[in-house]
Every structure is written in C-alpha cells, then in structure tokens.
C-alpha cells in the first residue's frame, strides 16, 4: 500500500494501527468513532487478529490490559465519556508497566455533552485521569496522514517504554475524508514476545507476575521512582512540535489537532494583512514541547493559545513560558469550532493589529 | 519417616485437622512456632489410618502423609 487511498479518518487510523502491528482490539461503541471498531471488526480477522466488542469501556480497557500482559500489540478507542470509564484500567496498566495504545476521539462535555469536536479532555489525557503518579505519551495528530504515521510511533514507543500511549483526535478528523498513504508496515512475525510477558512458563525457570500492587511503602516508592525515571527519559527525548512559518514570526498561535489545522488558515489571512504570525503546534502534548517553545523567548511579541476547551492547553503554555512572552488565549467549548476569521479577530483584539 | 508429618512452621493452629481426625490423634502442642502459633501435633503415628482427611482440610498445606508398604 504505497499509493494514496482516499479514506475516512476513523477507518484510516484503524488501518494505520493494523499496519503498525496491532492485532487485538477491544472496544465499546460510542460516537464519533464507531467507524474505528467497525473497521477493526472487518479487518482484524483478515490479518489473523481478533476484534472483541466488550460489554463496556471498563471491560474493554481490562481486556486490553490482559492482552497487553501477553506482550502483543493491542489497542482500544473510544470517545470522552468512554475514556472516562477507562481511567481505572489506564492507571493499572501504567502501574504494571505494560504497553498499549488508546485513542480518544474527543467530544463535547462534561457529562454526556454532545458528539461535536472538542479538546476538553486535555487535562485528563496529559495530567492524569486515573489514580496515582503516572504519565502517558499523548500524540495529537492534526491530519489523517499524520495520525496514520503516528500510530507506528505510538506502538513502537509503547513497547519501548512499556507504557500507555494515547492518540487524541476529535470527530472532525474522524469523519473527514483525505488521501492517505501507509508508508510503514510492521511485520508482526518479527515482533518478539517480551521476556516479562505472562504467556505461560513453557519451560521458563520462573513464573512471570504482572501486578500494580506493592504493599510496603518503601517498595512502592522504589517502583514509583523507576516509573519517574522512565518518564524523565521520555520527556527528554520524545517531545515533538511543528513550527510553521516561524522563521520571521512576531507572534505565534499555539494550538494542536483540529484547532491547529484551522489556525494555519488564520495565519495565511494574517500574513496577507502583513501580520507576521506563525504556528507552534505540539504533536506530543505529553511530553509537552516546552523546550522548543522556550527558544522563542526574546523573539516573539506574543502568543495566542487557541483550543476547543477552556484554558487547558493554555496552562501548559503558561508553565513553559512563565510570562516571558505575553500570553493571549482564545477558546470555544461545547463542540463549537471557531473559524479562521474568528481566531484572527481574537488575535487582533488581544494584540492590536500585530505590529 | 512418619505417617503424619506436620510442618510446624506452616501450621496456623486453626484446629481444623484436629476436629475431623476420625481416630483423634491430633492435638495442639504447647510449643510456639516462629509466627507465634502453637502447631498441631500427632500423638500416635501408629493409629493413623491414612484416611487423608487432615491433609484435605488443612488450609495451609502443613500436613503431608505417608504410609509404609511392603515391597
């Protein structure tokens, strides 16, 4: 599959996961991502994998946990309320040091909210959600092609670091049609069963045990310190950002995913008006590309963080810049997506005409 | 080798074996093991019928049973 094919986002991302070696998928229906499990239910049997429709997201993530303990490439996907139900499992998986990939097609909240595109699960994805001190790598693709490519990295990094990797998109990316190319195909027969996997001893001289339980405080602290060391390594090496039209920029919009896509149009319009606006687009929202953003201190007159949420991404921008660049913010909630002109208007309101 | 061997360090002195032994040869001893339990003890190996009941009910796998056979 080296040629471009026209595919719907939610299906292309599913195929991307399969090309990345995913052979097991467990999930429960929820809009706006139903095409992903539906596609998996058709495709996985064709490649020798298994699709299971679970009785709930609670069950899905715990089935993922079981399969992850067997050392296979496994994923689930859902949308905001379903991801909330998965937080327990994500915490256990993180606490047990096993790898998996979770995709969230974020929708409007809180509660049942609606099915329109949103980015209001940012804190849940990058700061916590479940109990305990754990982190996930969180990829935030802004196009279908990028999502497909990132799925390969998602599974590779999940295995490398033995941790949960999340891919956060929204219904817009899931529902749009775009030509995509599947550049990398992982041959699953080359993937070795890790030595820690609980696959039966089969002659191994010891039993493997996977647990997130350590009863004594000193022991659990040691375990936490190991996790922290791993997360520090990930922070050091895995953060990614796209810097778009930043060479001569006086101002930058900071946005990710769908919002960044729209912001690129804002930048075109702004530049036509003589405003030197660029885009800093985190590709990983954890680890947050703070170092990359900090290189603009002293070069930029201001940044405008734009998100489909209320000051969630903005908090990380604040932490990264500590007031060293004037910080503007604009966001809409509940599934309302601002257009490029609306963003430009917000920019001009906060930074004047950009001189 | 004894017919009834009770691993005193495993025994938690629950008394279940004593309650079901049909020939009443098991008692609680007056020693303490390292965990502070008084282990069960067999008072008369020769009377053991090798019925297996004590080993079956012991929750701590403290009891092993053997029997001499002529070869």
């Amino acid at each position: 599959m080296s040629d471009k094919v026209l595919m719907k986002g939610a299906e292309a991302l599913a195929e991307g996961a399969i090309q990345a070696g995913c052979r097991y998928y467990f999930g429960y229906p929820i809009t706006p991502q139903n095409e992903t499990p539906e596609y998996m239910s058709r495709r996985l049997p064709e490649v020798g994998g298994r699709f299971v429709q679970a009785e709930s997201e609670v069950a899905s993530i715990n089935m993922v946990y079981g399969a992850a303990c067997a050392g296979v490439r496994v994923m689930t996907s859902s949308s905001s309320p379903g991801i909330s139900l998965m937080q327990e499992g994500i915490s256990y998986i993180s606490g047990s040091n096993v790898p998996c990939v979770v995709m969230n097609a974020m929708r409007g909240g809180p509660g049942l909210g609606n099915i329109a595109p949103a980015q209001a699960d940012y804190f849940q994805a990058v700061k916590g959600g479940g109990n305990g001190d754990y982190k996930r790598i969180v990829f935030a693709p802004s196009s279908i092609q990028e999502g497909v490519d990132l799925f390969v990295d998602a599974f590779e990094l999940a295995d490398k670091y033995r941790m949960v990797v999340m891919v956060i998109v929204d219904g817009l990316i899931g529902q749009m049609m775009e030509p995509v190319e599947f550049k990398t195909r992982i041959d699953v027969s080359t993937l070795k069963t890790p030595e820690w996997a609980t696959v039966g001893r089969h002659g191994r001289d010891h039993a493997n045990i996977i647990t997130s339980l350590t009863l004594d405080a000193a022991g659990l602290e040691q375990w936490n310190l190991k996790l922290q060391a791993k997360y520090a390594q990930v922070e050091l090496t895995e953060s990614r950002i796209e810097e778009y039209q930043m060479d001569d920029a006086d101002y930058a919009i900071i946005a990710y995913g769908t919002m960044a896509r729209i912001a690129k149009t804002t930048i075109r319009i702004a530049r036509a008006k003589g405003i030197k606006l660029g885009l800093l687009r985190p590709i990983t929202v954890w680890p947050f590309p703070a170092k990359q953003i900090q290189t603009y201190v002293g070069k930029l007159k201001g940044t405008l963080t734009v998100e489909l949420a209320y000051r969630q991404l903005f908090e990380d921008v604040q932490l990264a810049l500590c007031g060293k660049i004037p910080l503007g913010w604009y966001g809409r909630g509940g599934g309302v997506v601002p257009g490029p002109q609306e963003i430009l208007a917000a920019f001009e309101e906060q930074f004047g005409k950009g001189r | 080798m004894e017919r009834v061997s009770i691993d005193e360090e495993r025994c938690k002195s629950c008394g279940l074996c004593i309650s079901i032994c049909p020939v009443k040869i098991l008692i609680i001893s007056d020693r303490l093991n390292a965990r502070g339990f008084r282990p069960a003890q067999c008072t008369d190996q020769d009377k053991c019928t090798s019925c297996g009941s004590c080993a079956l009910i012991c929750p701590d796998i403290a009891i092993e049973l053997h029997r001499e056979v002529k070869v």
């Binding site: 079981g66 303990c69 | 629950c14 008394g15 009910i57």
Partner: protein, 252 residues
C-alpha cells in the same frame, strides 16, 4: 521383605512453598491447594495464567509457580478474556471473591459467561468483604450481621442475596457451573472433582466454567475455624444449595 513409604499426600509442585497471609482456618487456603493439585495432576503448570482479584486473595499470585496477573477489582474476567484471546492454548483461570465477582464485577462475569469462551472461574463465596473488614456482600444472608449491616441484613434495607451459580446457569454460554463447599473432607473431595470438570471444560475447549465455593471467613464472622465450618453447613448451605447447575455434553 523391605518396607517403603508410599505417598498418601504431598505438597503440590506448582505450590510456591510459601506460607500464605490468610487468617488461620480460612478456606481460601483450601481452594488454593485444590487449584495447585489440579494444575499438577493435569500437567498445566507451563501453560497456566492465573488472574487474581482484589480481595483477600490479592496476593494469590505469590503462592504458585505459574504465571499470574493481578486484576483491578471485579475486572478479572475481562482481563482473562484479553489473555485467553491472545493465546487460546493457554489455561486461564480467574480467582474471585463475592464482592469482586458479584458486586463490582457483575457485568464482567455475566458477559464472560455469556460469551462462553473457555476460561475458568474459581468463585469464593464467604458472605462478606473479607479484606476490607467484613462489610456486607451480595451473598450476605438475610439476618446476617456485618459491619455495614450491623442489625442484620434485611430485604428492605439491603435487598436479597444473589445466587450466582444458579443465575449464570440460565445463560447459554457456560459449559459447566457448580456450587461446592469447602467445609469438610468429603465436600472438599467433591469440590476438587467439580473443579477438575471446570478445568477440563477449558482444556477440552468446550467453554466457560465456574465453580462457586462456599467458604469461611472466621475472622470477620467472629467464629473459630471449626465453628465457621458448622455455620456453612447449618446456615449457608440451606440458602446456597450445593450441586451442578450446568453441565454441557463433553464435560467430564
């Protein structure tokens, strides 16, 4: 003629030779031992994965020489499903208490049973939440006092106990469902043969199997181990009758 010592009973080889953390006389230990004996006798140690619950058996994985995982509270059947699907030739069992299985994990157990995929469940019915200090469980009997039903369970305040074995036997998925008791040598023998059938239902690829074990919790029942066994016979068995509730063809 020489004399030799013949083995009547020896510790199972798949038993990791540790002293458990269970209270004296607690029948968790008996259920554990039967699992270890069957794993030995059926030659399963190399292909077994145990899925342990949140409850007193949370550390169960420490006591066996086979691979194990520790599930979240009530989620063992889902985790076992994920494990079994990836390696269908392995032997996968869950070990769950009544709070774990019949309260927080009711959805997971019902759907695992309904799917009918060959996993085996050892279900410990001790009528309370042992680990957290003796609160009311879905299996607590009417009138039974627990720390959260201090005057005794009433239908008005607490609803009725759940008979898990009978309930799951209504589903088409399961291959084998039985209720046994760990109160006496004769019943423990019967329990083992029921568990053997349950293990076989999986090994022979027939389907889902569950053995509910009437168990004791001397500590929270505030009875001696011997009195606890009597209580099982006098009070628990009349409400939770022993027997096989589902045996599909081929299970032996």
């Amino acid at each position: 003629m020489a004399e030799q010592m013949k083995v009547i009973y020896e510790r199972p080889r798949s038993w990791a030779n540790k002293v458990t953390h269970y209270c004296p006389g607690c029948t968790h230990g008996v259920a554990h031992r039967l699992v270890a004996e069957l794993v030995d006798e059926m030659g399963l140690v190399d292909k077994t994965i145990g899925v342990w619950p949140v409850g007193c058996a949370v550390l169960g994985y420490d006591y066996f020489n086979f691979d194990s995982v520790e599930a979240a509270h009530g989620r063992a059947p889902a985790m076992a499903t994920g494990i079994k699907v990836t390696n269908p030739d392995n032997f996968v069992f869950t070990y769950q208490g009544d709070g774990d299985l019949a309260s927080i994990g009711m959805a997971e157990i019902v759907h695992a049973a309904a799917r009918g995929w060959p996993i085996t469940v050892i279900f410990i019915n001790n009528g309370n939440y042992g680990m957290t200090g003796g609160q009311m469980a879905p299996t607590t009997l009417l009138g039974q006092k627990t720390t959260t039903s201090p005057l005794g369970r009433t239908p008005q305040a607490n609803g009725f106990p759940i008979r898990v074995a009978e309930m799951l036997a209504q589903l088409d998925g399961p291959a084998y469902i039985a209720r046994v008791s760990l109160d006496s040598p004769v019943n423990i023998r019967k329990a083992k043969s029921a568990m053997r059938k349950a293990f076989n239902a999986q090994v022979r690829g027939i389907g889902f199997s569950l053995v509910e074990c009437l168990s004791t919790c001397p500590t929270n029942w505030k009875l001696t181990p011997v009195e606890s066994m009597e209580r099982v016979r006098k009070e628990v068995m009349p409400y939770f009758p022993l027997g096989e509730f589902k045996v599909v063809e081929g299970v032996l």
